[in-house]
Symmetry: C2
Subunit: 306 residues, 2 copies
């Protein structure tokens, strides 16, 4: 069978499913659908079959499940257990560049052990969203060798679980970090040096996220600078990085190619999908987004960057 040789088509994501309470200068939401795996999935769904592996509590509303299923996301890996769903409470000040965490209630997520089914194990593309590097490493040991593995992380793990993170990075093809994270992790203040240092540890592709300034995509010796899409209305930056990752890896999974040119195109899709995400709270905009809108904005974007 073709699939047993080449693995299962599509993309598996392991990460958080959350209820978010968020306040920005442009509004607020309470216990709205969120989490890295959710943002990622809702972005990647435009390109390929996405399979979400995560955990929620018994307070997770049926309407959330229904929405994700309607969007075509495979939830067979979404565990429901007794207790409360992971809850993040945060706010953003005027410039929207930095989230201030007010509360992190891990709840059922505290004991999360990803249970991978056959379709996850054999998935050709894998995204390890921002969770403890120990769990990321566990997943890496469980899966058959996917074509491409991407992983996200955060300053907290860089500081508290550096050794585990180093283990993970050894086996990862694509690393996504934001500007301050990669500098903190490598101890290099200049981005070119920081990327070089990170690549020595494993990843051959590095995405440096720069919030409203966009992202850099380093692919071997090549690199592409992508400004963020200019928006006239921005509401909530939560999930921008994960939706970027979803568009990026989703496109790679769809194309099946690994050339620098494909990586570049993927980064453009990541940028464009993420731009829709920040125009609303929660998944409101991504859930309504159409392929047609996506293609239109991509074309406008490409015109605006020389």
């Amino acid at each position: 069978m073709k699939q047993s040789k080449r693995g299962v088509q599509g993309l598996t994501v392991v990460g958080s499913v959350a209820l978010d309470t968020i306040k920005t200068p442009y509004g607020q939401v309470e216990r709205a659908l969120g989490g890295s795996a959710v943002y990622f999935s809702c972005a990647a769904r435009f390109f390929t079959q996405v399979r979400l592996v995560g955990v929620v509590g018994d307070d997770f509303l049926n309407q959330h499940v229904a929405l994700l299923e309607k969007l075509g996301i495979d939830l067979t890996g979404l565990e429901r257990v007794k207790g409360k769903t992971f809850h993040w409470k945060g706010r953003y000040t005027d410039n929207l560049n930095e989230a201030i965490t007010e509360k992190t209630e891990l709840n059922v997520f505290a004991n999360f052990v990803p249970k991978l089914l056959k379709q996850h194990v054999e998935s050709q593309y894998l995204f390890l969203a921002n969770i403890h590097p120990k769990i990321q490493y566990q997943v890496l040991q469980d899966v058959a060798r996917p074509k491409w593995i991407a992983c996200d992380t955060m300053n907290f793990w860089i500081q508290s679980a550096r050794k585990d993170l180093l283990q993970v990075l050894k086996h990862v093809d694509i690393s996504l970090m934001n500007d301050s994270e990669i500098k903190m992790f490598t101890g290099e203040h200049q981005i070119a040096k920081a990327v070089k240092a990170l690549m020595k540890l494993g990843p051959k592709i590095v995405i440096v996220k720069r919030g409203e300034y966009g992202a850099w995509c380093f692919c071997g010796k090549k690199y592409y600078a992508m400004p963020a899409v200019l928006l006239s209305e921005l509401k909530d930056p939560t999930g921008a990085g994960d939706s970027f990752a979803g568009g990026f890896l989703g496109y790679l999974a769809k194309s099946g190619k690994t050339s620098a040119e494909t990586v570049k195109d993927a980064a453009v899709y990541g940028t464009v999908v993420a731009s829709f995400n920040v125009q609303s709270f929660s998944l409101d905009r991504l859930a309504l987004l159409t392929q047609r809108e996506l293609i239109k904005r991509r074309s406008d974007y490409l015109k605006s960057i020389l």
Copy 2:
């Protein structure tokens, strides 16, 4: 005569000529050649005849004059008076994004009254570097109508001389501000809104400078996002904005065109020239820069931005 109708070819800049004492994590210099008009001129010289209008004291070394003359900059508008040259002392911390001023000694610059000669008055292109808006306005009243006027400013004038700045902007075609300045000036936190507000006050072209993140170039209803050139070695960001402006306006002056396409090309040249400038202290790199290096880096840069 052709010139009397169309004005004098080339570009006049009115601004500071300074001696800078600067410390960055990568080294330091004492009383090195600097100043907005100098950085601007050394960048613009690749494209057109630049005429510098400024003032220095009797401590300004002959070698500085000799260097600028060697680079082809017209110094007939550089006044030499008794006293000390404008001296700026500042430092940068690790990320190089923000200058911390330790000392500003205006010296002879405190009483600077630009004395425009015929070739300045009739100049087709004019750059009002970062000086008191009152002086900028005075220059505007002295010149014949140039084809294009660009002006820079800073947070200090935005706060202390807002009314004067508003007067200047009314008559200006191109406004250059950094990200925080335009937001402070317009009271808008989102860049698209801030630019719209600024354009209502006069300028039809707005350059938003974002330090190591590059710049946005807004031209009427079009806009172009330009990431900064990725550098493996960065030494001193002083003069980055002025050298950008020099490359930008220099190219516009050379081409003589006013289309959005030309503005875009000009912004690329601004970005590329500025990238050389930050690779050394003072004018060291810009003074040695060749046309050939400039063209080579421009071509590499264009490949790196999709």
